[in-house]
Amino acid sequence: MKLIKRKALKKAVGISTASLPDIVFILLFFFMAVAVMKTSDPLVDYEVPSSEELYRFEDQSLLANIRVGKDFKTNRTIIQLGDAIRNIEDIPAFLQYAQPEVNRTGSNKIIAFLEIDKEIQMGLVNRIKQQLVSMEVYEIALAGTEE
């Protein structure tokens, strides 16, 4: 009896949480290494075509994002340049704006990263290409997803 009584009186041993911050910091550093900053949120509804052999573009600062897809509400075809919905005629100005960002990294080769919905017709894509050539942006990337 005496023995049991003594045990009950003992306080529960607390688990040390001193190493918890370390664990969370490791998680944090992992994410910092793996993830990249978001450039812009998609404002259009699009689904890029799929392919098995795609090139991975590591340096996001070189990319000028051009998204072509449908408006979420009206289903109209719209173009997103960077952070905003714009017209096709605004592409030159957009590229000019994107250029100095690129120069800071040492390379002046901007890559037009075209995220185009599967169902878009080529007429529009060709017009975008003409705009790119007119601004002497020759490097393009056609976005795709891996299957």
């Binding site: 949480t17 911050p21 944090l28 993830a35 900053m37 392919s51 052999e53 894509v125 490097e139 990337a141």
Partner: protein, 245 residues
């Protein structure tokens, strides 16, 4: 006094701070990878109006046409979209009569061609008076530059085969073609090329072409290797603008 303990700092809230930071990073970053096909658009060139482009032999051209219903015509015959791969493979590798003319780059061949081109430039420069003739001279000069580069590639690869300068994949799409079909054709072309380049690089340099491309910025000797592979397997893609017909 001497045995007074230093009070412990409570580190319990440290975890909360770290969690806050972690959540901030989770919200502001993305794990999306930017995947895509890389291409170069052709530059706007304006040859003089009186310049007559050389005639390109039929066998040097692989004709792919996509109409507005996404139907495919390859070399004037109806095919499936997925057939592009085998045609492109033949275009790059086959030695058949109807495939592009190939030439072996040997030391003698380089010397011979450079000699001929130098003579052509001399002759053309003497007679050049019109814009078109001067344009032709500049074209000869660019050929000379290219053959000079072949010399270096030959040192790396040994004797190698090149395709005719005029060999080209002519991919004609229409304004009504869907992007999906267009992408599929480009994807097949670039996949074939990537695979063949990888094989070639593996054979000569014991590493894939993709790997060479990754080393490009750190190792300057790699650039010559990349160029050598490209000499043998160039991306020859011509996309006529559908609006200029």
């Amino acid at each position: 006094m001497a045995d007074r303990n230093i009070p412990e700092i409570n580190a319990g809230s440290m975890a909360d701070i770290a969690f806050l930071l972690l959540i901030f990073w989770l919200v502001t970053t993305t794990m999306d990878k930017d995947l895509g096909l890389s291409f170069r658009l052709p530059q706007d060139v304006h040859p003089p109006s009186d310049w007559i482009p050389p005639v390109v032999k039929d066998r040097n051209v692989l004709n792919i046409i996509l109409n507005s219903n996404d139907q495919v015509l390859i070399e004037k015959e109806k095919h499936l979209l997925s057939d592009v791969t085998s045609f492109v493979q033949d275009f790059y590798l086959s030695n058949d009569d109807n495939m592009p003319i190939r030439m072996r780059v040997t030391e003698a061949q380089i010397a011979d061609t450079l000699g001929k081109l130098a003579a052509l430039v001399m002759q053309a420069e003497q007679n050049a008076s019109t814009k078109a003739q001067w344009y032709q001279v500049s074209r000869y000069n660019s050929h000379i530059k290219e053959w000079e580069a072949y010399k270096e590639s030959r040192n790396l690869l040994g004797d190698f085969t090149i395709m005719s300068k005029r060999a080209v994949i002519r991919f004609q799409s229409n304004n009504g073609t869907s992007y999906k079909a267009y992408f599929s054709v480009l994807d097949q072309i670039s996949t074939v090329l990537k695979d063949e380049r990888n094989k070639l690089a593996e054979k000569h340099f014991n590493m894939t072409f993709d790997h060479l491309m990754k080393l490009k910025d750190t190792d300057p000797t790699v650039r010559n290797k990349i160029r050598a592979i490209r000499h043998q397997l160039p991306l020859k893609l011509l996309e006529p603008d559908p609006n200029n017909f």
